[in-house]
Symmetry: C2
Amino acid sequence: MPDHAVTFRLISKDGDARRGELSTPHGTVQTPTFMPVGTLGTVKGVDIERLAETQAEMVLGNTYHLALRPGEKVVSKLGGLHEMSGWQGPMLTDSGGFQVFSLAKVRDIDEEGVRFKSHIDGSRIELTPERSVEIQEHLGADVAMVLDEVVSLPSTRDNVESAMHRSLRWAERCQNAASRSDQSLFGIVQGGLDEELRRESAEGLVSLDFAGYAIGGLSVGEPAEDMYRTISATAPYLPTDRPRYLMGVGTPNDLLEAVSRGVDMFDCVMPTRNGRNALAFTDEGPLRLRNAKHAEDTRPLQEGCPCLACRRHSRGYIRHLFQAKEMLGPMLVSLCNLTYYQRLMQGIRDSIEQGNFEEFKAEKQAGWAKG
Amino acid sequence: MPDHAVTFRLISKDGDARRGELSTPHGTVQTPTFMPVGTLGTVKGVDIERLAETQAEMVLGNTYHLALRPGEKVVSKLGGLHEMSGWQGPMLTDSGGFQVFSLAKVRDIDEEGVRFKSHIDGSRIELTPERSVEIQEHLGADVAMVLDEVVSLPSTRDNVESAMHRSLRWAERCQNAASRSDQSLFGIVQGGLDEELRRESAEGLVSLDFAGYAIGGLSVGEPAEDMYRTISATAPYLPTDRPRYLMGVGTPNDLLEAVSRGVDMFDCVMPTRNGRNALAFTDEGPLRLRNAKHAEDTRPLQEGCPCLACRRHSRGYIRHLFQAKEMLGPMLVSLCNLTYYQRLMQGIRDSIEQGNFEEFKAEKQAGWAKG
């Protein structure tokens, strides 16, 4: 087994919260980190230079979506996901598993893989561990994810257990299929909300020696406390010298709670999806810009925020943009929310370094509760 | 009559093409100039800093649209159109006349003004010359336009003539109603395609002494040759020390032809509307990005273009964005088209100064014809 292309260095701890650094072929990433989601090779409504202004360091692309449009071979002909999208920093692609289970129609799953119909044109597609790796190698992100079998919760323990075991076998197949020396594979811990299954999954993956470990199958509708408990039950079984990535999470509060339980990496569509829906995250909680009370408000979305929306525009103007269905509304609030998330992560990193993460967390939570 | 807030200085001529400078309370504008259209206080899909990067100097806002949403009083409470939109350079608002005639339902027009139903919510609204000026003074652009009666062509000479005469009377009422010392009013020459009526309209307006003169009622479906002929028949009756503004025009070729006939200012939605529809203007003619032949093309939209789209992205990627219905597609091509128009205007200004405007025009036209 060659050295991993992507490595992690733990810099300091504050309680279970970890301050670290991820090294990738396209640069280093300070952790804890939040990755904006660039589903189809673009973070929706945010151009590549504005995205860099948010201080994002690593961007996620969705294998399922890119394999359907424009197709991984086109991405490859356009130079790979970095070159095509213009993002020259670190990138990660998921395996496509989650989208197959949430978006595709008529799924037929067995030990070999999963066959489904495209949600775009209904065409029949097969995704196996080997095929997922092949697609991700064409895309060429720094981090690729193993294909896992995702179970929607609630489910029976038998279902969760057998999917977890199958995911372990698929993880090994992904590892055997991987051939790019400039790309590392992360394993994905499964096991639903069952602490024993989570431990078994983590130990099984760790014995395979992945460059990093994701906690998958969470934030799928379960209560937040269940998610936090499951993270707490999983993290102790992951090696300290590898990054821990909580997939698809979450709210600003989720990030704080997960960091306090030892998570290093996140991705989520919340800042952009909510931005497109006129909801701005602020230190006083969410701002719903369609509310008429903002119509003549000359204040920025968030006092002190360095983003274009806050530097140049008022709440009243941005509300007007949404009322008038102008593209600039979604563009500006997406940008502001991504900036909010990155500033939150910067505050998290600083407070871990300074040994006052819990105070930082309590202060943020108090502000949100006031709103 | 006080001195005009907006003044024009003719710097040089090349044939009938004019190189000049417009001075406004919010800065100077080099002419010939093209104004991007910010209908509702935003140029669609382009943020205010990217807009400045295109080298645009003056932006247009639409009185009709802004009066309906968010309403001119809200604009005023948000600091006026400059402060609200974030555009600190020169601005111009139209009078609302053209939109009333093209968008509003159930129009009832008489000497007093026009009553219509909002195209948004069907509410009844009255627009008179005095009311148009009042709204535009709330908006606070550097240049306001007189309310005119727009006749759709073809029409009878009697209709065109009586609308032209009424427009002259309305122009005088606008002038009498105007009270802001930091805003100048431009008259609008009407008269359809009738050269005699155009002369009468121009002379009538000039006797009222406006800060500038627009040529209105063109680019409404008539053949391009009729438009060019009408411009040629109007310009000689306009004073050389005032700017000439051809409203709602046009294609890159229209700009060249109108400049060669003495026009100084333009506005048009073409760069942004076409940009949203995946059509990019280039020196080799329009590029239709939905065409499959661009799928794997790694070239930029326009070689040598300094815009973000061309600096960072390929034709193949931008095509993918349109196929996937990503907002970034319209954002990038709108930006590229606005940059194309501004670079064309820069080339026009340079060539007039250098005395080789006709060569420049012929060279551009030859390039477009090849595409």
